[in-house]
């Protein structure tokens, strides 16, 4: 078996992994970035929507090459079909770009490469190496060639299933109420508004929502998330998505060019994201916004924090859990409040029936709120249905 040695091995070359690799390599660490697939960013597992603000914060310059469409706003559709249109100035952080993830992910991986990371394609992590209970690296398989990779720290960036976190010993178990089963069709030859992301609420997507994220020229990502507890029949996501696609006249001439499936966590992050010689970033750490299901920004941010902390740890030669805890604290300081608040809000939204959701969407229409965000939506619900929100007082 071939033996390799490095400071940091990152498993998964999505946005989180690439950012962790970039920042660690920029700080002078030797970094191996493993990607099990034959192409970075494909097959797709994402609805591809991101807000604009965080890209700036991350210092990622928007590039027309990986931007599929620039959004002017969002449309919220109530269960009975009321459409509420928000322009960009009112839609807060929820509006932005629809990406070409297969190009975006490659652009980020390229940043890691330029910073000095070594990228190994078609290389699956097959297990972790533990010696006397200490994590010292990972086993991998590169196109049939078994590898033993020794590293001072292992970074799990392997997405929702995060097998690496489990092998390392993190508790990644998730309640069915805190995950969504998702399916998406990339459709062509459809007639949707080209610059508005559409969100359809209610029993058409039990516990979740349906989305139409336009990608220009009659194309869009049309998808659904169904809350795990509301999945009853097996293939619930497919059942509800097919129903929606068949019944919406704008989609009747559409054809599906790609089928995308995936799991999305809607909890406020793992209780622990670090162990001795180990940390988890992005979806693997369950850092997905529980309301929107968006994970790209948090993956990039947590990846950046991870890379920065690893550089500091290397200076002290200390990759213990206590030393890596700085990373855990950094992402919590920056995103945990919002994750928790949106998690509580999600719990509430998932219980609202179609009648109430209709009223809520109409109420937003009538309200004078300046910016539609989760907090303001909850305030509208609270004004209209004080009883419903009585147990959520501490949110306000």
């Amino acid at each position: 078996m071939q033996k390799l040695q490095c400071d940091v091995v990152v498993v998964g070359a999505g946005p989180g992994g690439s950012m962790a690799a970039k920042y660690a390599a920029e700080g002078g660490l030797s970094v191996l970035l493993l990607e099990k697939k034959a192409e970075i960013g494909a097959p797709l597992r994402c609805a591809e929507g991101v807000s604009k603000k965080w890209l700036k914060e991350m210092g990622i310059e928007p590039d027309p090459k990986w931007i599929s469409a620039d959004m002017d706003g969002a449309i919220i559709v109530s269960p009975s079909g009321h459409r509420f249109k928000l322009d960009e100035s009112h839609a807060g952080n929820e509006v932005g770009y629809v990406l070409e993830r297969h190009l975006f992910d490659k652009a980020l991986a390229e940043m890691a490469a330029v910073a000095g990371a070594t990228i190994m394609m078609r290389t699956s992590c097959t297990g972790v190496i533990k010696e006397d209970g200490k994590l010292v690296g990972v086993y991998a398989n590169r196109m049939g060639e078994p590898l033993e990779i020794r590293a001072k720290c292992v970074v799990a960036a392997d997405g929702f299933e995060s097998q690496v976190s489990r092998w390392a010993g993190l508790d990644t178990s998730i309640d069915l109420k805190d995950m969504d089963s998702c399916l998406q069709y990339r459709m062509a030859n459809i007639d949707v508004e080209p610059n508005y992301c559409e969100f359809v609420l209610g029993s058409a997507a039990p516990g979740g929502y349906l989305w139409i994220f336009p990608k220009g020229n009659g194309r869009a990502n049309v998808g659904i998330g169904v809350q795990g507890t509301k999945c009853k029949r097996g293939a619930d996501a497919k059942y509800y998505l097919d129903k929606f696609v068949n019944e919406d006249p704008r989609l009747k001439d559409g054809q599906i060019l790609e089928i995308v499936a995936g799991g999305v966590s809607t909890c406020p992050g793992l209780d622990d994201t670090v162990l001795d010689n180990f940390l988890a970033v992005g979806d693997a750490a369950r850092l997905i916004d529980p309301i929107t299901g968006g994970g790209i920004a948090h993956a990039c941010q947590s990846g950046m924090y991870a890379g920065q902390v690893l550089v500091d740890c290397a200076k002290e030669g200390d990759f213990s859990k206590a030393a890596l805890q700085v990373y855990d604290t950094m992402w919590r300081d920056s995103m945990e409040d919002k994750l928790v608040r949106n998690w509580i809000a999600k719990e509430k939204f998932a219980t609202l029936d179609d009648k109430i959701l209709d009223d809520v969407v109409l109420a937003i229409n009538d309200s004078d709120i300046k910016e539609v965000n989760v907090y303001n939506l909850l305030k509208v619900i609270k004004d209209k249905y004080p009883d419903l929100m009585s147990e959520m007082e501490d949110l306000f």
Partner: protein
Amino acid sequence: MIVAYEKCLHCGCCVGTCKQNAIYLNDYILQFNDLCNRCGRCVKVCPVGALTLEVK
């Protein structure tokens, strides 16, 4: 567990949902180990219905 491989999209939804660490996505092939306690969570959440519990 019976896997309809012709439906499976290798999305990992079942893997991430399993509390028993009983499912692995080993290079695009779903594998189950004997830690499976037949809780059926993976069957429910599979977006395309590729999983069925074997009748014992």
